[in-house]
Structure formats: structure tokens, C-alpha cells
């Protein structure tokens, strides 16, 4: 039986992680490579790195980081943030990432999904989407770009389905309303997307406790759950989350 994945998310700026100041065990918490290794050893099923660097130099540093991470961890990882072209996708994949996540750029130029899937295989292409509740939209959710700051005219469900038709192999659904609240994932949004597309959906935004993770799998039909601050700040370990999942009869990888 396919197991539900716990995906640890790290934000990276100029080659340093931006969260994780209270990470346990004397790890150099600013170093994404060290953190990646620590989470790999702690049982993370997958990692995702979001490059929040603006500069071109920063982008070069990110590629080096990806190369280093690829040598240290033997579970899949994705890289997203500022992916602007198919060549940029290629650079990230050749550096050793399994998947590359496109978000705003795909809204501006959806062809990047088709071209990426054609060149690298759809399993490599992840669509990240930032959605916010909006009763005016057909599905009740509107797509935002530029880190959730700019509204678009796209409906969340329509966009998800279009992206899958174009070749996206997985969708990360980030709820702008839930993000940062620590009150739990937005179940309705996750369920809406997950039950209406044929590819796996990763729930994102709002996780504060292991019970929230259980909830998004049980009620939100998510295939994977993204966690960030709840593990970075040492409130919970990946193992805490997985034990809670196993205790709720959610299939999960418990051997690592």
C-alpha cells in the first residue's frame, strides 16, 4: 500500500536556510546541506528547497547547494522558487534534484510545464500553486503569484487541471489563508484539488501539530504533507509526526 509522505520544506536565501534557528542537536542550522542530512536521517520521506534568492549570484549558489545535497541524502528532493525557464529546470535536475517546482512562471507562461514534461518526464515537473479563498471564483479559490502577493484571474481547480493536462506530475497546493497560522492545513481546498486531479497532491500551509498532518491525509485526501516550522523550531520531530500518523492507521514509512 502506498504510504503517505512527510515532506520537509526548507527556504534558502543566498545558500543559507532562513528558518531553523531552534533546531536541535547542535546542527549548523543555517546550512541547508547539514539540515538536509539531518532530516534525511530523521526519516523525512522527501525534501523540498525553495530558493527565495532574488539575485543571479544567489541562483548559482543554489545550484552548488543542490549538488552538495544530492551527495548527502538518498531520498528524493525537489527544488523550487524562481524557476524561470526550461534551461533553469534542466540545471537544477542535472545538479541532482529529482523534481523541479514551478509556480509564478508557469502562470505567466504555462508552456514551461509542457516543455519541461516533454524534456525531462512528467515525474520531474511539480506545479506549486498559491490559492486563496474567493467566492467569486468557480471553485471558490483564486490563484495568486509572486509569493502570494499578486492576484490572478485564474481559478485554482481549473489551473490545477490544466497543469496536469499540460504535464505536471504532482501539485503542491499551498493555502495562503492557512499559511503561517499553525491552525492546520486548509482541508477543503486540499480535498477539492486532490479528488479532482489524477496526480498526487502535496498539502502545504498551516501545519502546527502532528494531528494536523493526520487530518489532511484523512479528511483532505492529500498524498503528501509539507511541514516546515513545526519541525524546524524543534516543536516536533519527523518521527513524532510519523508515529501520530501510524497511530491513526495512516500508512507511513516507519523504517529508515
Amino acid at each position: 500500500m502506498l504510504e503517505k509522505r512527510v515532506v520537509v520544506c526548507l527556504d534558502v536565501r543566498d545558500g543559507r536556510t532562513t528558518k531553523g534557528i531552534r533546531f536541535k542537536d547542535n546542527i549548523d542550522v543555517g546550512d541547508p546541506v547539514e539540515m538536509a542530512r539531518a532530516y534525511y536521517e530523521a526519516g523525512a520521506d522527501e525534501l523540498v528547497f525553495y530558493d527565495i534568492t532574488a539575485s543571479a549570484e544567489g541562483r548559482g549558489i543554489m545550484i552548488e547547494t543542490v549538488q552538495k545535497v544530492a551527495k548527502e541524502i538518498f531520498v528524493p528532493f525537489a527544488v523550487g522558487g524562481g524557476i524561470g525557464s526550461v534551461d533553469h529546470m534542466r540545471e537544477v535536475l542535472l545538479a541532482g534534484a529529482e523534481k523541479v517546482s514551478v509556480n509564478s512562471q508557469a502562470v505567466r507562461d504555462p508552456g514551461i510545464i509542457d516543455e519541461g514534461a516533454r524534456r525531462f518526464g512528467r515525474q520531474c515537473v511539480v506545479l506549486g500553486m498559491d490559492a486563496k479563498s474567493d467566492p467569486q471564483m468557480p471553485s471558490g479559490y483564486r490563484i495568486y503569484v509572486n509569493g502570494g502577493r499578486k492576484a490572478t484571474e485564474r481559478d485554482a481547480l481549473e489551473w490545477a487541471q490544466e497543469a496536469v493536462d499540460r504535464g505536471a506530475g504532482e501539485i503542491v497546493v499551498n493555502s495562503i489563508d492557512a499559511d503561517g497560522t499553525k491552525d492546520g492545513y486548509e482541508i477543503a481546498l486540499t480535498r477539492l484539488i486532490s479528488t479532482n486531479v489524477s496526480v498526487p497532491v502535496v498539502a502545504s500551509g498551516g501545519a502546527g501539530t502532528p494531528e494536523h498532518v493526520v487530518e489532511v491525509f484523512r479528511d483532505g485526501a492529500a498524498d503528501a504533507a509539507l511541514v516546515a516550522s513545526m519541525v524546524h523550531f524543534g516543536d516536533y520531530s519527523v518521527e513524532d509526526i510519523k508515529r501520530t500518523m501510524a497511530g491513526s492507521d495512516i500508512p507511513v514509512r516507519m523504517r529508515w
Partner: protein, 227 residues
């Protein structure tokens, strides 16, 4: 010992390289049969389309290299797409494959509960616990899968482990010196690395191969071999 990793433009080979590096193996990644001919092991990695993969293998003469390798009893290890093309044929564009293990490759039919591709961690329940592939790997270990097609060997005796995903399919298969897994051991954490190490070690000692099928390291000789 040198491990040949076949490059036939079927996906990114970086992760298999880093795993081999981590395990301290000496390896060569190449799409040139001449550069791979001296290796003592052959890994067929890859993701993507079986028909396109077979076309590339044939165009480069790599199909003959693999068949020759297997025929000489040297250890061959297929991963993901590499585990599919060791069979006779694939439903994917009706590809004719290498035929090292009798059987065919079938496609997953999406169901209400099972999405396709099958992406993520799943168990591989060892059917043959004695197979060296699963040496020192706990029964409840999970492996990372990404695929839409799955191997279906003709003979149950070629099935080493099975996985449930809507159907129960053969996720690890082996016949003599040809071993293959549908999942990605190079991305399956500690136990995936252990499995790769099992291939590197076990195959060298001839475990899992019919008696006399695998020549000891250094014992083979072939005209034109140098180094």
C-alpha cells in the same frame, strides 16, 4: 571491480552515480559499448518510455552489450525502466524488449483510489527471503517508486518481491545473474543503499545465480580486453 552504468538518455543518472560513489564503487557512466565492455557489472537505470529506450539501446549497440554481458553470467541490475526492458515486451508503445526474463510489462489502470503514476514509498514484500538482494533488509522497509508500468514475469519463480498498488505486482525480479527492481534503490534511503550494496557484493560472490553461472572476479577473459 568496475560498475558500468548504461547511459541511453533515459533520464537523469546523477542519483545512481552519487549512490555508487557513496558506496565506494568504481564506476563508468557511458553510452559507448566499448567503454563499458570491461566492466564486471552492469547497471541499467532509466526512467521514461520503453520503446524510445529500446530504440536508443539498439542504435548504440547497447542491447547487444547487455545480452552478451548476461550471457557471460556477469551481474546485470535493472532499475525502474531498466527493470522493465529486461522482459520480453512492454505494453508501452508495444515495445519489444531484451527478453532476459520471460514476461511482459503492463500499464496501471487508474482507479478511484489509485492515482497513476504510482509515486511514493511502498513496501516490497520479499517472496524469496533467501535472495541476496534483500540481505539485511527488514521486511517492513519501504522503497521509492515512480512509474506507470510494471513488470509481469511469466514465471512466479522469477518474482523476488511484490508490491500492492491496486494490483499486486512484481517489484523485484531475478533470474540467475539478472536482477531488477521497479523502485529506485538509490532514492530509498538506507535500505535502498543496502540493496545496491547487496548487488555489488552478492552478485560478486555468485549468490542468487545458478551454480557456475557467475565467474569469479578477475577470472573472465575476453579478446580485446585491456586493463
Amino acid at each position: 571491480m568496475s560498475v558500468g552504468v548504461i547511459d541511453y538518455e533515459a533520464g537523469n543518472l546523477r542519483s545512481i552515480e552519487t549512490a555508487l560513489e557513496y558506496l565506494g564503487a568504481t564506476y563508468v557512466v557511458s553510452g559507448d559499448p566499448d567503454r563499458l565492455a570491461d566492466c564486471s557489472r552492469l547497471v541499467i537505470p532509466g526512467v521514461g518510455d520503453a520503446a524510445a529506450a529500446m530504440d536508443t539501446l539498439r542504435a548504440r549497440g547497447l542491447d547487444r552489450l547487455i545480452l552478451d554481458f548476461a550471457g557471460r553470467g556477469l551481474p546485470v541490475f535493472g532499475i525502474c525502466l531498466g527493470a522493465q526492458i529486461v522482459l520480453d515486451s512492454s505494453e508501452e508503445n508495444d515495445a519489444r524488449c531484451l527478453g532476459l526474463i520471460p514476461g511482459r510489462v503492463r500499464v496501471f489502470r487508474p482507479t478511484r483510489t489509485e492515482k497513476v503514476p504510482h509515486i511514493g514509498w511502498n513496501r516490497a514484500a520479499a517472496k524469496h527471503h533467501h535472495h541476496p538482494l534483500f540481505k539485511e533488509i527488514p521486511e517492513d522497509a519501504s522503497f521509492y517508486f515512480v512509474h506507470s508500468f510494471y513488470p509481469e514475469p511469466e514465471s512466479g519463480s522469477d518474482v523476488v518481491a511484490q508490491t500492492e498498488y491496486g494490483v499486486r505486482f512484481a517489484s523485484a525480479i531475478a533470474r540467475g545473474n539478472v536482477w531488477a527492481v521497479q523502485f529506485h534503490p538509490e532514492k530509498s534511503g538506507r535500505y535502498g543503499l543496502r540493496m545496491l550494496a547487496n548487488y555489488l557484493d552478492g552478485a560478486a560472490h555468485g549468490d542468487g545465480a545458478p551454480a557456475g553461472d557467475v565467474q569469479p572476479e578477475g577470472a573472465r577473459s575476453r579478446e580485446g580486453d585491456s586493463a
